[in-house]
Structures are given as structure tokens and as C-alpha cells.
């Protein structure tokens, strides 16, 4: 035994216990709250997936095995929602990222009034999502919104219609609202990464005669790559789960054309009060997200091993 340990063990037992338990006391409120309000319902929800849980039916609650999943595999609305989720997530992330990156590059240059401009262009992120959804639904509404009339004037529409009620176009409504709302998120994270690139690299490259495009390709992009990868991958999961705009703007309609899996879960739980079926869909979504995350981890491993 080292002298240090002997002297410590001579301290009163209560005092040692108090010191050892201190970090646990600090984290106990957060721990218990998260377990009670998130982990327990998560486990409960997984069990619902195998039970017949309907709010309005007092005799429900029995174990029914894989029945929900059998129904699910033949549920056309669910299969459509799967396809829509890919479309919604892919298009939203792509446009948010491209426009967010361009905005970050524009804001990276110093100019007069940059602080004010930042506050203005980042403002959409502060708009509550339900309001963003309503606001865009009104803009698309031919009664009070300008967009259908502009599209009509440009000759794109033969008459000023609401694209949210057009089965072929409806998905673009929530996607545009989502892009508007989400550009600041990408712009802010990209801007932070841009500003951490050492400035002298650009100066050295300029002295060596590199053009603007060359500097972008060989300095900016390689430096941004890790941030881009992490932000895009995490944001993809977040947007795939993001149902607010769709619930507010179209409620999944017309004819389930804008239903994504997350909004389908909500519709089943909220409108039909079929908690068992909703939980079964949620479990499938969770499985898909897990597979996606594992693919990412694998991809990261192979990329790291290459270096």
C-alpha cells in the first residue's frame, strides 16, 4: 500500500462516501428524469408493438405476437410512406446543405453590416416549426398567398392552384418550407467550420498563383469535409423523424401523398388512437435508423483504416 492510500483510508467513512457519491448526486435528477420519461416509455412502446393497444377499446391490451407487422407488410399507405420518407429526407437535406453552404461562403467574407445580415438570414431558424408550416401553407394558398399567382403568371400553372392539394406536387410544399427553415442550421455550422480554417493557407496559395476555384477545391473543401459529413449524416436522421411541418401543412394528404413514416406514426396514434399499430410502425422506423447508423459507423471505420 502506498502512503497516500493509507492516509486516505484513515479519513472518516462518511466523508469518503460523500466524496465518492458527489458526481452521482449532481447527475441523479437528469438521470432519473430521462429514464422515467424517455427510457421507460421507449421500452413500453416496444412492448405495444406486440400487443393490441387501442385507446377506445377497453378490452384491448392482449399479446398478439407479430400480427401488427403482418398487417404492416401489406399496408399500402405504409409502403408509400417509406418511399415518401426517402424523398422528403433526401430532397430536404440536399437543398438545405447546398443553400446553407453557399450562404456560409457568402457570409465568410467581411463586409459592412455583416452582423445585421446574419441576424436576418438566420431568423427563419427561430420561427416555431408549427408557425413556419402554417406560414408556408398560407403562401401556397391561392386565396391569400402570392405563390400560386406567380406560378400562374410565369405560365407554369394553367390556373392558380394550391400545390398542397395537387397529388403530384404536394410533397414540394413541406420540402420548401423545410429548406427555408433549415438553411440557417447548415449555414451556421458551416460558417463556424470555415472560420476555423487558418487564413495564411489562403494567402500562401494566392502567392503561389492559385485561382479562387483551386483554393476552394484544395483548401476549403478538405477542411470542411469532416463537418459536412457529420452534419449531413446526423441531420438526415433528424429530418427523417421530423413530422411537424407535414402534420401542419398537409396532414399527410392528399391521399397519403405527403405522408412520411414519422407523420404516419403520429396519425395512427393521434387520429385513430391505435397505439399498438403506431408502436409497430415506430419499431420498424427505429430498426431502419439503426441500420442507417451502423452503415455510417462501418463507413467511418473503412475510411479511417484507409488513411
Amino acid at each position: 500500500m502506498t502512503p497516500d492510500v493509507t492516509s486516505r483510508s484513515r479519513a472518516p467513512l462518511m466523508r469518503r462516501l460523500a466524496i465518492a457519491s458527489e458526481p452521482y448526486l449532481y447527475s441523479a435528477p437528469a438521470f432519473f428524469l430521462i429514464v422515467a420519461v424517455m427510457l421507460v416509455p421507449l421500452v413500453l412502446g416496444i412492448s405495444y408493438a406486440f400487443r393490441d393497444v387501442q385507446l377506445l377499446n377497453p378490452f384491448s391490451g392482449g399479446f398478439i405476437g407479430l400480427d401488427h407487422f403482418r398487417t404492416l407488410s401489406e399496408d399500402q399507405a405504409f409502403l408509400r410512406a417509406l418511399k415518401n420518407t426517402l424523398w422528403w429526407t433526401g430532397a430536404s437535406v440536399f437543398f438545405q446543405f447546398v443553400f446553407g453552404l453557399i450562404l456560409a461562403l457568402l457570409l465568410d467574407k467581411p463586409f459592412a453590416g455583416r452582423g445585421l445580415v446574419q441576424a436576418l438570414v438566420f431568423l427563419p431558424w427561430a420561427v416555431p416549426t408549427f408557425l413556419a408550416g402554417l406560414n408556408w401553407a398560407w403562401l401556397f394558398n391561392p386565396v391569400i398567398g402570392p405563390i400560386p399567382h406567380w406560378l400562374y403568371a410565369l405560365g407554369i400553372f394553367s390556373e392558380p392552384n394550391n400545390i398542397l392539394s395537387d397529388p403530384h406536387m404536394a410533397m414540394w410544399g413541406p420540402i420548401i418550407a423545410n429548406v427555408w427553415w433549415g438553411i440557417p442550421f447548415f449555414a451556421i455550422t458551416m460558417l463556424a467550420a470555415l472560420q476555423s480554417i487558418p487564413r495564411d493557407l489562403y494567402e500562401a496559395a494566392a502567392i503561389d498563383g492559385a485561382s479562387g476555384l483551386q483554393r476552394f477545391m484544395s483548401i476549403t473543401l478538405p477542411f470542411l469535409a469532416p463537418t459536412i459529413a457529420i452534419t449531413v449524416l446526423l441531420r438526415t436522421v433528424w429530418i427523417a423523424n421530423f413530422a411537424d411541418l407535414i402534420v401542419v401543412m398537409t396532414n399527410g394528404g392528399p391521399a397519403d401523398r405527403t405522408q412520411i413514416v414519422a407523420s404516419y406514426i403520429f396519425t395512427q396514434a393521434f387520429k385513430r388512437l391505435d397505439f399498438g399499430y403506431a408502436s409497430a410502425i415506430a419499431l420498424v422506423l427505429l430498426g431502419l435508423l439503426l441500420i442507417y447508423s451502423m452503415l455510417i459507423v462501418l463507413l467511418r471505420q473503412t475510411l479511417l483504416n484507409k488513411d
Partner: protein, 277 residues
């Protein structure tokens, strides 16, 4: 060469202008319809500003509708959530920042898991759990749920603020005989006040925007938060556009105020939970 530089500058400013217009136009339109008198709403179509502006929609919404109740409910829920989360997250963030203990990695893993799974999964089980406790249709129920949802992200955020403060400060205080908790309360917390303000702002905005759980857990008008009230108003009286948009403008005000409060910390906040929008 100078002409090229000038044209580049002009292109840069034009691009910035386009972004500003895109970002602000929907909010401008909200305000424009909110101040358009009913008789001009349909006749003037897509004019950029009505020939006659009025505040009558705002007056009606404030004096003769349930929106003040919704507004008050939302302020209570978002404010209580923000305060509760900030207290809980300061404690847990401090533990993560300053101690190494056996359960630390389990705690971090637990909080990361909660950031990865779809929260909409919890709508049904939480409703079932809260019903026998009498916490559905109550503001307290919403506060508990929102506090738990925001605690992980806020903990990481507070941890990042604590990490930025040198450890020597508490060590000096503890040599002078203070307990660690006293050092935390009297030395570290005052130094993290800007971080605490940022956390309050982020959580307030998140709670103010939450829609799906509020829709599920609240059914009456008395406990409805702003999003629930506005959506039920929209589905019931979908012709009173002026009033709806006036209510929308009112819902925007606290969100914008808190946005100004947290603007300096956006980067830290957006990367703390890494998945939090």
C-alpha cells in the same frame, strides 16, 4: 482586373440580398395579411402592401379570443421548462465536466441514445403513462415531458460551458476550505451566466415550438398551448385569415426575442446535442 473585382462584389451583395428576401418574405407576408382589413383581403389579391392598414385583427385576437390564454399557457410551460432544464442540466453538466466516475460513460451513452431515436415513438406510451397520473390535459404534464426531452442536449451544452472555465478556480477555493458544491455555486455558476442564459434561450424556444406532444396530451382549450390553440383555430375558422395571421405574429414575438438572446451562442448550441435543430 478592377472591373472584375467590382462585378464580383456586386454579385456577392446581390446573392446576399436574395437570401435576405427569401428568409424574410414569408414573415413579411404574415404581417401584411395581419394588417389587411377584411374587405380588401380578396379584392386586392397579391399586392405587396394593402392600400389601407389596420390593427383591428390584433385588437380582436387580444380582446375577444382565447389566444391570450394560449399565450399565457405557452409562456408558463416554456418558462418553467427552461428553468427546470437549466437547473438539472447545470448539475449534470458540471458532473460530466469535472468528475471522472464509473457511471459517467453510461450516462453519456444514455443521453446520446435519447438523441437518436424518433421522439414520435413516445407519443403513445407517454400518453398511456400520464393518464392515470392525471397529467394529461395539464400544463404540469407538458413541463415534465419537455424537461426530460431537453435535458440531454442542455446537459451537453452546459458541459461545454463548464469545460471553458479553468479548474484552478475551484481548486483554490477548496484549498481554502470550501466544499466542491460551494465552489460550484459561488464561483463557477456566476462565471457561466452567459452560458446559462443561452441554455434558457434554447430550451425556451424548443418548448415554445413543440407541437406533436402538445396536440396529443392536451384536448381542452384551458390547457392548450399556442400551437395547439392556433391549429384548432385554423381547422375551425379557416376563413378568418387576418385573425389567424395576427395570432401568428404574436406567437413569433417571444421566439424572436429569445433568438436575439442566444444569437451569439448559436454555434455552440447547434453542435452541443449535435442533432438538435
Amino acid at each position: 482586373m478592377r472591373a472584375k473585382k467590382l462585378s464580383l462584389t456586386i454579385a456577392h451583395r446581390l446573392a446576399i440580398l436574395a437570401y435576405i428576401v427569401f428568409a424574410l418574405f414569408p414573415l413579411f407576408w404574415l404581417l401584411k395579411v395581419a394588417v389587411t382589413p377584411n374587405d380588401l383581403l380578396y379584392s386586392e389579391g397579391v399586392r405587396m402592401w394593402p392600400s389601407r392598414a389596420t390593427l383591428e385583427h390584433f385588437e380582436f385576437v387580444i380582446a375577444h379570443s382565447a389566444f391570450p390564454t394560449f399565450f399565457r399557457n405557452s409562456v408558463i410551460v416554456s418558462g418553467s421548462t427552461a428553468i427546470a432544464v437549466t437547473i438539472i442540466a447545470s448539475l449534470a453538466g458540471y458532473a460530466l465536466s469535472r468528475f471522472s466516475f464509473r457511471a459517467k460513460y453510461w450516462l453519456i451513452a444514455l443521453m446520446l441514445i435519447t438523441q437518436m431515436f424518433p421522439l414520435v415513438m413516445l407519443v403513445a406510451p407517454i400518453f398511456k403513462m400520464l393518464t392515470p397520473l392525471g397529467l394529461t390535459n395539464s400544463l404540469a404534464g407538458l413541463v415534465i415531458v419537455y424537461t426530460a426531452f431537453n435535458a440531454p442536449f442542455a446537459t451537453f451544452l452546459m458541459q461545454s460551458f463548464f469545460d471553458g472555465i479553468p479548474k484552478d478556480l475551484e481548486e483554490a477555493a477548496m484549498i481554502d476550505g470550501a466544499t466542491q458544491f460551494k465552489a460550484f455555486r459561488q464561483i463557477i455558476l456566476p462565471l457561466t451566466l452567459p452560458g446559462i442564459a443561452a441554455t434558457l434561450g434554447f430550451v425556451f424556444t424548443a418548448a415554445w415550438s413543440e407541437l406533436l406532444f402538445a396536440l396529443m396530451l392536451i384536448s381542452g382549450n384551458d390547457a392548450a398551448t399556442f400551437p395547439v390553440g392556433l391549429l384548432s383555430f385554423v381547422s375551425k375558422f379557416s376563413v378568418d385569415f387576418g385573425q389567424m395571421m395576427a395570432a401568428g405574429v404574436l406567437a413569433l414575438i417571444p421566439a424572436c426575442l429569445f433568438f436575439l438572446l442566444i444569437q451569439r451562442y448559436l454555434v455552440q448550441g447547434l453542435t452541443a446535442g449535435a442533432v438538435k435543430g
